[in-house]
């Protein structure tokens, strides 16, 4: 009997051990757009060398896993200890407050203060993580195609119409399938909407009804698609709010102009190589300004971790100024660390002559965003707005809805989402 009890006890202990984290174990759920997975692994290897009592495991997963599976794990009180996420505000109740755990909270407030609100519940003063990269939506032009067509690149304050007209001329001359494309994402068109005067946020902080600014740009976008100027595939060939990038068409020199964002710089550099010259253009102007929308990916601590102190140590290390600087230089991501930005002199880790000017252009454009655009990253309902826009505008482009019907549907979709969240 005693033997049996001993055996059962041993079995229980081993089962428990296999399902719970050992002290010193930190698991990071990470996705990559480019080389950042390799860079972070290298940085973590150095950390583990200096801190042999902490073992950090980097789980490289697809972005879809972060978007679809992580929220379910978090709802169940499970998940990794740290995660790299983009849906940072909506899931903020699952992030761990590192304020009592990090070595110097003031360092975090001073250097990441501008973006801390993006990743904590409204009204909270928690430190939940930091932005691994700051992104800004913006355009890219295939300089070689423009030169071959003998069309001048539109200048600094060129409007959306200027850019599309110029790109259309290039597309016609070079027999390309379309003049331009924008990624299939509500986030991507929101900078343009704001540039035409849109404001998604109502006086009560809740979503406002679709306004004239949004109607102005979306109307143009639908018109350009109907005329074949915008690449139809990207927006039309999917339903719902599915994300589709048009980067491959730009990389394959099928588009003179492509509107996406700063995170594409490394991707374009790697895949285009010296096939053609390209430039970052910033955001074309509308009637209210020339704004993109900021965003990015954050590294956040998860509140369900069994090892909060070790998690804080890892986060302290990764948020260090020299580490953030190195990470940004090697990944070609814009840093969100005030000290790094203020000191400048980032040595972008690329021999590609297109990369440095492109990143500098994005850094400059980051200072030109409009207040209505800056309000979006920390706004709880931004994703609801983005999703409704994509779903309904795609239907208009496919000929299933009229624009007038779409405005009503967008308002209804967003209202349903707000009601559902109560």
């Amino acid at each position: 009997m005693t033997k049996t009890r001993t055996l059962l006890a041993a079995l229980s202990v081993s089962l428990l051990a296999s399902t719970s984290a050992f002290a010193g174990d930190v698991r990071i759920m990470w996705y990559s757009d480019g080389v950042e997975g390799d860079v972070i692994q290298d940085l973590l290897n150095r950390f583990m060398k200096d801190n042999p009592d902490i073992h950090v495991t980097l789980d490289n997963v697809a972005y879809k896993v972060i978007q679809e599976q992580l929220p379910i794990q978090l709802e169940a009180g499970q998940g990794p200890d740290i995660a790299r996420v983009t849906n940072i505000k909506e899931l903020a109740q699952h992030w761990l407050d590192l304020r009592p755990l990090v070595a110097d909270p003031k360092y975090w407030d001073d250097n990441f203060g501008d973006t801390l609100d993006w990743m904590r519940p409204d009204g909270s003063k928690a430190i939940t993580g930091f932005m691994t990269q700051l992104t800004l939506t913006g355009g890219f032009a295939n300089k070689t195609l423009f030169e071959q067509a003998g069309v001048a690149l539109p200048g600094e304050k060129a409007t959306w119409d200027d850019w599309i007209n110029a790109a259309a001329e290039v597309a016609k001359s070079q027999q390309l399938p379309a003049a331009f494309a924008i990624d299939r994402s509500g986030h991507r068109i929101s900078g343009a909407n704001v540039s035409y005067g849109a404001n998604y946020i109502g006086p009560d902080g809740k979503p406002a009804k679709v306004d004239d600014g949004t109607k102005a740009f979306v109307g143009k976008l639908v018109d350009w698609t109907a005329k074949g100027l915008m690449l139809k595939d990207t927006w039309v060939s999917a339903a719902g709010s599915t994300y589709r990038a048009a980067a491959d068409d730009f990389i394959n020199a099928q588009l003179p102009f492509y509107y996406s964002g700063s995170w594409q710089v490394a991707n374009l550099s790697t895949k285009i190589g010296d096939s053609f010259d390209w430039v970052a253009t910033g955001s074309p102007c509308g009637t209210a300004g020339c704004s993109g929308v900021k965003g990015g990916a954050a590294l956040v601590a998860i509140r369900y971790t069994k090892n909060p102190k070790d998690v804080a140590k890892v986060m302290d290390y990764l948020a260090r100024e020299d580490i953030v600087k190195e990470f940004s230089e090697r990944t070609l991501f814009l840093p969100a660390h005030k000290g790094v930005i203020a000191k400048g002199g980032l040595k972008w880790g690329s021999a590609d002559k297109n990369v440095g000017p492109a990143l500098d252009k994005f850094v400059k454009a980051a200072g030109e965003t409009l207040p209505a655009a800056d309000a979006l990253p920390p706004w709880k309902w931004a994703n609801a707005y983005f999703a409704a826009l994509v779903t309904r505008v795609s239907q208009v482009m496919a000929g299933e809805l009229t624009l007038d019907d779409a405005w009503g549907k967008i308002d209804q979709d967003i209202a349903d989402k707000v009601a559902e969240a109560k």
Binding site: D233, S241, E420, A421
Partner: protein, 340 residues
């Protein structure tokens, strides 16, 4: 007894010992159980593990799904969700006219219902006809018959995602088909952004991917038809078309009904290959019910688990009707077989 035989017997006994020991332990409660419950109880005992697995992975999720469909909110835990009764169903069924999706509160749900209805009608009809023709051809004496049967069955072995990707690479703007069209001097076409061609592609790819399975069922039916009927018809000088309508089709009818019902069930559930191929587009023209449920429940930035559960319950009801139909067809076939 020789030394080898002794060794063999000893080895056998040694290997059997743990089993015998285990059986002697299990035997005690089993005997008791049989004494108490009789033979019926023993059947229940042996069925229990299977039923437990079925219960955990099918019945329990189904019950949970019912509860979800009566709640609202974005939380995943039931205790964090608010009870709303039949509100989600009312929301789904709130329509000015069920034929005009624009008048429906959840227009995308009804769009998916309409699309699925059209897909089921066209795909099942096409699937049945193509599978029948293929089975008739493969039933004939021909060189390499086994090889051709394998060729037609091969797509069934592919993962639906692989199937969707292969056809996407063929049909996309810069795909293989447009390369051929271009090389032949034609104008490349954006097949997957055209509503008609996207629907045609969804139906065709789905038929291509699954017809091998149904062909096999029909082939088995064809081979069960007695040869002497055909020989008699041949001696009477009956035309081949008449042979098909008067002998082959009536005798193949039980298999054909099974094929139609199975294809119906499968078509209502269509998701993976079409999701990869068209993503539900262009617009929502290939958005089918399962994708709608997946999008609303998991993928969309506007996810709503309660509404997705209600939609899946409604879809489940349709599948229950179809399954009952299949059982009815199966039983009728069995009764007919018994009479013959």
């Amino acid at each position: 007894m020789s030394a080898a035989a002794t060794l063999k017997a000893l080895t056998g006994a040694a290997l059997a010992a743990p089993v015998v020991w285990l059986a002697s332990i299990v035997n005690v409660p089993l005997k008791w159980w049989q004494r108490v419950t009789g033979t019926g109880g023993m059947a229940a005992f042996f069925l229990a593990p299977n039923m437990a697995i079925f219960g955990i992975f099918v019945v329990v999720p189904l019950v949970i799904n019912f509860f979800y469909s009566a709640t609202s909110g974005t939380a995943y835990f039931l205790q964090d969700r608010s009870y709303v009764g039949l509100e989600q169903y009312q929301r789904l069924l709130d329509c000015g006219s069920y034929l005009d999706t624009a008048t429906c509160r959840e227009d995308l749900f009804w769009k998916a219902v309409h699309n699925t209805g059209l897909f089921v009608v066209v795909q099942v009809a096409l699937m049945t006809i193509v599978s029948m023709i293929t089975a008739l051809i493969l039933n004939r004496e021909m060189v390499g018959r086994s090889f051709w049967r394998a060729v037609f069955f091969f797509p069934v072995l592919l993962s639906p995602v692989v199937t969707g990707l292969i056809w996407r690479w063929i049909l996309q703007r810069q795909g293989l088909l447009n390369l051929i069209v271009h090389d032949l001097g034609g104008e490349p076409y954006n097949w997957l952004t055209d509503r008609f061609w996207a629907f045609t592609a969804a139906v065709s790819v789905s038929v291509w991917a699954h017809m091998g399975f149904y062909t096999l069922i029909l082939l088995a039916g064809l081979q069960a038809i007695p040869r002497d009927l055909y020989e008699a018809a041949e001696m009477d000088g009956t035309r081949p078309a008449r042979v098909f309508w008067r002998i082959t089709l009536p005798l193949l009818m039980p298999n054909l009904l099974v094929v139609i019902v199975l294809a119906l069930i499968r078509a209502v559930q269509i998701f993976d290959e079409v999701y990869v191929l068209t993503g539900g587009g262009p617009g929502t023209s290939t958005l089918y019910l399962t994708q709608y449920i997946y999008e609303i429940g998991f993928a969309s930035l506007l996810r709503n688990p309660g509404l997705a559960s209600a939609a899946s319950i409604l879809m489940g009801l349709v599948l229950v009707v179809l399954t009952l139909l299949q059982l009815q067809v199966g039983r009728r076939g069995e009764r007919k077989g018994a009479r013959e």
